[in-house]
């Protein structure tokens, strides 16, 4: 399984969840798989995907999916601690762990060696933690967790490698505005 396969499966199994997607190739691949207004492509600020998703989850009724990467999470590991304690039931944190800085030439990250992100999440205090290696396991786990109540942290082990994709051809304000519309559409009664 490559990142592209993981993203394709996630895209196929989601409906109207609010998705915050990591910058770089992950966003480019997700855009190519199936662009939607409820997908927020980060474009910059590496590491912040889970923090943005946390802030959103604390302020929306909708389910929020963070699509993170190993290199990105290692840049903001404190987020594990904050998310564990805030414990929003509508946040699903998925980390595609391909042991690489994929957007910059697949240089190895430390998860390819000794570091386990799922163990880090457990040590931070997150209880519902998964580490998955196959498409089948991912499909079953996503079906079980996405619509269920409760914070979960899912590491999907993937092979390093990118699909050739073009930069996301949307300007940031459009990404922001249509995403905020999508968020509002499901919370019509909110201030």
């Amino acid at each position: 399984m490559y990142r592209y396969d993981v993203l394709s499966l996630i895209d196929a199994l989601l409906s109207d969840e609010l998705v915050i997607c990591n910058l770089g190739i992950p966003s480019q691949e997700l855009y190519a798989i199936g662009d939607k207004p409820n997908y927020f492509y980060m474009l910059g600020s590496m590491g912040m995907v889970s923090s943005i998703a946390l802030g959103l989850a604390l302020n929306t009724e909708k389910t929020v999916v963070a699509l993170d990467g190993d290199g990105s999470l290692l840049m903001n590991p404190g987020s594990l601690v904050t998310v564990a304690h805030q414990n929003p039931p509508n946040l699903k944190w998925i980390v595609i762990d391909n042991g690489s800085y994929g957007s910059t030439g697949n240089q190895p990250t430390y998860t390819r060696r000794k570091t386990s992100l799922s163990e880090m999440a457990r040590a931070a205090g997150i209880t519902d933690v998964y580490e998955l290696h196959t498409k089948e396991a991912l499909e079953v786990t996503l079906k079980d967790t996405i619509t269920a109540k409760g914070l979960c942290f899912i590491v999907v082990k993937a092979r390093a490698g990118n699909r050739s994709a073009k930069p996301v051809p949307l300007d940031p304000i459009s990404i922001r505005n249509r995403f905020m519309e999508a968020e509002k559409a499901v919370n019509p009664g909110r201030e």
Binding site: M48, I52, G55, L58, T60, P172, I175, R176, M180
Partner: protein, 167 residues
């Protein structure tokens, strides 16, 4: 100490009157009482963060659901937040109120605070983030306007709270 408590309460009241209910923060001794007020208020969410940049990201997520966030920190935390302020908040036009305990000014007892103290305003200028100085309790009357500026311009603003503000 009494006076410090009451000025913190005044700041708290001013923030609430500006309809702010979503806060993130890393403590500073000057912000301690304000943080206590925030933590005890049932209408307010206060999220302690491990690093200031994380707080900027959380504020961005809150804004995507229509909530304006406030990040409490020392100016050292501004240094920890620069890239996210630039490539997330300014780039996507997402506002946040930075409530900054300005350290490293004259009278500072911790020498290591001085370089960031000297760099703070220039960093904000370089980022084109407006900043406003709070050095007396009377400055609080402008807080509503400064928050309105963040909302209407959809960009970060920094409230630089000098040590003498706290009395």
């Amino acid at each position: 100490l009494k006076r410090e408590e009451s000025i913190s309460k005044e700041m708290f009241t001013a923030l609430k009157e500006a309809s702010l209910t979503f806060f993130m923060g890393v403590p500073c001794k000057y912000l301690a009482d304000l943080i206590s007020h925030l933590e005890q208020d049932r209408d307010v969410v206060y999220v302690p963060v491990t690093r200031e940049e994380e707080g900027i990201g959380i504020a961005a997520g809150g804004f995507l659901a229509g909530k304006l966030g406030v990040l409490l920190m020392q100016n050292s935390g501004l240094g920890n937040s620069i890239n996210t302020l630039a490539s997330l908040m300014l780039f996507f036009r997402i506002p946040v109120v930075l409530l900054v305990s300005q350290r490293g000014l004259s009278g500072e007892t911790i020498d290591a605070q001085i370089p960031m103290g000297r760099a703070t305003e220039q960093l904000l200028k370089n980022l084109d983030i407006p900043f406003f100085t709070y050095s007396r309790r009377e400055d609080l009357v402008h807080l509503k306007d400064h928050v309105f500026y963040a909302r209407s311009k959809e960009k970060p603003v920094a409230l630089l709270v000098h040590p003498e503000f706290w009395g």
